[in-house]
Amino acid sequence: MEGFLTTVEMTFLGLAGGFALGILSALGDVYGTKLMKVVIAGYVEFFRGSPLIVQLLFFYFSIPALTGLNWDAFTAGAVTLMLNSGAYQKGYFKGAIEAVFKDQLMAAKSLGMTFRQTLRYVVLPQALRIVIPPWTNEYISLGLSTSALIVLGIRELTNISKSIAAQTFRPLEVYLFASAIYFIWITVSMKIFDWIYEKVKIPGLEVNI
């Protein structure tokens, strides 16, 4: 049970950090300068182009070696998940921001709205609604990926299950039980996201994916 809470905690940390990073880098990529675009592209390619386990090991072991900064496995794991999730979420946010058509930006401009006002009142309210379904996928994917934290020895659901299985010599029951917990958790979460999506849905703004 304690392992499950760690799994959920890590997922939420990763998602929340990734949300902020994702939205900022998507905005930077769509509206930013050339330099910003290059930096963001590099960041995204790095995290989407290598396995999460390698990223976890890299950050946990190389940051202390490079900077002398000592951090525990939990922090290193959380930061890596945030960076990783941010890279994926950036793609979803970018798609959603670009789905708010240029003609609406022009209309906002014709009313005399500033860039900031346009973002706040026109772009984001639409983009955040459009992004819910793909964002749900990221939640599932990241939630399940937290099992990779086992390589840093973090006591999450998979790691705890492994210990119990080793102690009790009953791998079948233990891992089946662990799978069931993952399954129920993800299914319930998906239902919640679906409910939110329906709740904030606006006619004509449905996602066609």
Partner: protein
Amino acid sequence: MGEVVLACEGLKKRYGGLWVLKGIDFEIEKGQTKVIIGPSGSGKSTFLRLMGLLEPPTEGKIYFEGKDVYGSGLDLNMIRAKIGFVFQEPSLFRHLTALGNVKLGPKVVLKMKDDEAERKALEALKTVRLEEWSHHYPAQLSGGQQQRVGIARALAMDPDIILFDEPTASLDIELTWEVIDVMKDLARRGVTMLVVTHELGFAKEVADEILFMDDGRIIESGPPEELLKNPKTPRAREFLRRLIGGV
């Protein structure tokens, strides 16, 4: 002579190597309605976007109520707020109801209080005869209704002039009439309007002047009865013959 609301001098616009506008002088006075006609690609829409301050000119000056808008450190957004713009595609904010669309400008740009902005918006919706549709989202409205919401959105800002860029070009014929009727109303009420359209009936009834554009220039202008009946330039004659002939 009335007060000149919007004017330009030697206006030119280049996209890449292509000069789309090749030098335009123009002015419109308070209360006037002027209609621009001309073949596609003649620069009508570009001219309108420049006058709406949605794009900067490559050369030339634009004057709003006598002030050089790009030359004197003015807040462009504050001037844009005074120039209404109705687009060819309705371009409504899809996450807001008709009322929400019309209310946003007064609230966010003019900083009106919520109830004040709402009153303003309802009044504008009434002018375009859509008060019963105020709580519908754009996707629930017909093309003509959406376009009228677009007109109301411009009206609610109390603009000094409204620019229309072919507002009926993407509408069916019946929907065209409902939009044109609203625009005629506005013209009769004394709203200053600069309209790109090929609805010659509208031009004949309410325009003070028709401008014929071709190849990035205004090559002919005059009162409707004169320009429509006896165009002087061969280009205008040819264009009108085809437009009326329906070819």
